[in-house]
């Protein structure tokens, strides 16, 4: 071994390390950062989301070099300039398109993990709230980027959304005009969407993700058992169920990354349009300001929200239904105050409620995937009611309830649903026939949930004893 060389390298490193907290950060954040030893599959998605963020920034850089933010040039600058005239342009663009959808898929799974394991509860409320802001920034980023290729769906999607903004009282119209830079979507809109998409939102996202990580490392990770590892420490003060993040979770995440890339590149190489889900087929037509498409759709990841927006035909109430769903997500720490974190140790009916949350969200997506028939809109309204109830019923599960309380909850919840329907009827949103035909959806859900709660009180009982130590780990546990 050449020891003088080695010591020189160490001296150089030492020079830097004295001036930058390299090794201390490395230790405190990685090799001596204790993480619970039982992370499962659901804990891959955070690091994968970070990977995709980097991927989007890298591919986006190359796209921006060739892209022309001008309505006369934009479409062909993407479909010919990037896809054909520039070397590897097709690969870069398809990676960016598939990456956008992957980002949403990962973030949805990531959020659902947080819901399942109660990761939004004390002391992680701010971590969760920062996450909600990340989601909002991500949604804005995707919406802005979608206009850039200036295809039919780009154009009309942006027109519909900015038009919805005008329905907000007082500030709606000025905001919409400012967003578009004009009274209709046009050149100024494209210019500012481009700048927001490639500069403003990425910077915001990076900053938010940094805060997310700082908050995470301050409070430490939750885990599938929902048991706080810092409450059980050894003589030297280390959590007994913690293991150093590096190397254990770095090698595990590397496995996650490899599997992710297999799926990711399958789409990139063999199915970049993703059956018309990742890139709408109508976007292979340049924007035509004189021709409104029969069926205007957002991409798949916005479909559930689109169903909420459409379910209530009054624009303002539609926006409220849509915005309210984010408020509900943000308010999760306030709604669910049960001390048990993980779904593993919660009651059967709570589990059903959390499953129903995912189910109604997917169902809303399917509804918005269909045409905007009155039939589908009414379904949208009623499934939105179910989605909302899965959140608003969370306080019910905060402790065990008496039969009388259960009956009161049931009556109150049904009354709210029927009052909303009456109200929709009174503003002539939908006819009674269709309303009655689909009212069974929320009515039945509430009846079933509370019926079971009343008939079988054991179904509302959480586990009586939480484990003291974490149960065995493993990817599929």
């Amino acid at each position: 071994m050449n020891s003088s060389k080695q010591s020189r390298a160490r001296r150089v490193f030492g020079w830097f390390d004295d001036r930058l907290p390299i090794s201390s950060l490395w230790r405190s954040q990685l090799t001596r950062y204790p993480a619970p030893k039982n992370f499962n599959l659901w804990y891959f998605f955070g690091s994968l989301a970070m990977l995709v963020l980097v991927l989007q920034l890298a591919t986006g850089l190359f796209l921006a070099i060739h892209y022309q933010p001008n309505p006369h040039l934009a479409y062909w600058s993407v479909l010919r300039g990037i896809q054909r005239d520039s070397r590897w342009g097709w690969l870069i663009r398809d990676m960016h398109i598939v990456g956008a959808s992957a980002f949403f898929l990962l973030v949805y799974l990531h959020m659902y993990r947080g819901i399942m394991y109660g990761s939004y509860k004390k002391p992680r409320e701010l971590l969760w709230l920062v996450g909600i802001f990340i989601y909002l920034a991500l949604a804005a980023e995707a919406f802005l980027g979608y206009l850039l290729p200036w295809g039919q769906m780009s154009y009309w999607g942006s027109a519909v959304v900015t038009n919805f903004v005008t329905a907000v009282p007082v500030i709606g119209k000025p905001i919409a005009t400012w967003l578009r830079g004009s009274f209709v979507v046009g050149l100024p809109t494209l210019n500012r969407f481009f700048v927001f998409h490639v500069f403003l939102m990425p910077v915001l996202l990076l900053a938010l993700v940094l805060v997310h990580m700082i908050a995470l490392h301050h409070v430490g990770s939750n885990n599938p058992d929902g048991v706080e590892i810092h409450e059980n420490v050894n003589e030297s003060g280390w959590p007994r169920d913690g293991i150093p993040f590096h190397p254990y979770y770095t090698v595990k995440d590397l496995f996650g990354v490899s599997v992710f890339f297999v799926v990711f590149f399958w789409f990139v190489f063999y199915n970049p349009g993703g059956w018309g889900l990742l890139l709408d087929k109508l976007n292979y037509t340049p924007a035509n300001i004189l021709h409104t498409p029969a069926d205007i759709h957002p991409l798949w990841f916005f479909l559930p929200f689109y169903a909420m927006l459409r379910g209530v035909p009054d624009k303002l109430y539609g926006i409220m239904a849509f915005g309210g769903s984010f408020a509900l997500l943000a308010c999760l720490p306030l709604l669910d105050r049960n001390p048990v974190r993980s779904i593993r140790y919660r009651s059967v009916l709570y589990k059903i409620d959390i499953l129903m949350m995912a189910f109604s969200f997917l169902w809303l997506g399917l509804i918005a995937h269909g045409f905007a028939t009155e039939h589908n809109m009414v379904y949208g309204l009623h499934v939105t009611e179910v989605f909302y109830s899965t959140f608003l019923l969370l306080p019910f599960f905060n402790r065990e309830r008496s039969t009388r309380a259960k009956v009161i909850w049931l009556v109150a919840a049904e009354a709210v649903v029927w009052l909303i329907d009456l109200w929709m009827y009174s503003i002539h949103a939908h006819g009674w026939d269709l309303m009655l035909l689909t009212d069974w959806i929320p009515t039945l859900y509430l009846l079933l949930l509370f019926g079971l709660a009343i008939g079988f009180p054991a179904l509302t009982r959480d586990a009586q004893k939480l484990p003291e130590r974490l149960t065995a780990g493993g990817i599929f546990h």
Binding site: Q83, M116, A472
Partner: protein, 270 residues
């Protein structure tokens, strides 16, 4: 807590129920504005059949480009795709008087097209990305006589199309096979096929071959990187498959110490 009575995070039965229900409700949401659809004529695109591609290019660049553009491509990108060199290409197919490196725009001035057909014909590189080969093949072979239309023809897969039947001299005229069906949910007479009415300059088989060649060409033009995809894809995906196996083994190796409780890093003082 022992392993048997530890509640699990995954609930296979509930999950299966969820997937089943979703599939059912998905059908509910889609079955809305029904229209009777004619069956599509099957076709398998063969990008290796260079003589078919050349024939398709010949017809497309001389017949269709009168009205349609193919702005996604430049003439200069075609020879390689067609298996020709530049000289052959310029002699056999040509660039319609444009520069070799120009994009393919329609040869008729837009004003004239507008006066003729009223609707600006869509770009064919876009159309061929949007439509499946089977749809295109059916479209090209299914014009039928319909006196109620300004152009005198209609199309089974593209009801009330504004494009005239440019194939009439080759294919002859055709008459529709009508059935009682639905159009946007209301009952109507719907054409689900065509039958020959007059004889053109080609036999049915010759014409079908020509239409097939055009579809090959349009598909090739709209999907320019098929060969790179097919060449690169297996390597990249294979690489990550191998990496998945390797990283899994490394993960197992490292984690043995965690499973057996041998991990003793935490003995160090804080």
């Amino acid at each position: 807590m022992t392993k048997q009575n530890a509640p699990r995070g995954n609930h296979p039965v509930l999950l299966a129920l969820l997937v089943g229900l979703l599939a059912g409700f998905g059908g509910l949401a889609r079955a809305s504005v029904a229209t009777t659809k004619p069956p599509l004529r099957p076709i398998t695109v063969n990008l290796q059949d260079k003589s078919a591609l050349q024939n398709g290019a010949l017809y497309t660049l001389h017949m269709c480009v009168a009205c349609h553009s193919l702005q996604g491509v430049r003439y200069s990108s075609l020879p390689k795709m067609l298996g020709m060199n530049r000289v052959e290409f310029e002699k056999v197919i040509g660039t319609n008087g444009k520069h070799y490196h120009d994009t393919i725009t329609s040869t008729m001035p837009p004003a004239i097209i507008n006066a003729f057909v009223k609707i600006l014909p869509p770009d064919l590189t876009d159309i061929a990305r949007r439509r499946s080969p089977a749809w295109l093949y059916t479209y090209l072979t299914s014009f039928y006589v319909d006196p109620s239309r300004p152009s005198g023809v209609n199309n089974t897969v593209r009801y009330n199309v504004a494009m005239p039947d440019v194939f009439a001299p080759m294919q002859g005229l055709q008459k529709p096979v009508m059935v009682q069906g639905l159009r946007f949910g209301s009952p109507a007479q719907v054409a689900i096929g065509v039958k020959p009415l007059t004889q053109g300059s080609m036999t049915q088989a010759q014409f079908d071959r020509t239409a097939r060649d055009i579809v090959y060409f349009l598909y090739a033009v709209a999907h320019p990187h098929q060969q790179e995809r097919a060449r690169l894809g297996p390597w990249i995906i294979g690489l990550f498959l191998v990496l998945s196996v390797l990283t899994f083994l490394i993960y197992k190796l490292y984690w043995r110490r965690v499973i057996t409780g041998e991990e003793r890093w935490w003995r160090v003082g804080k």
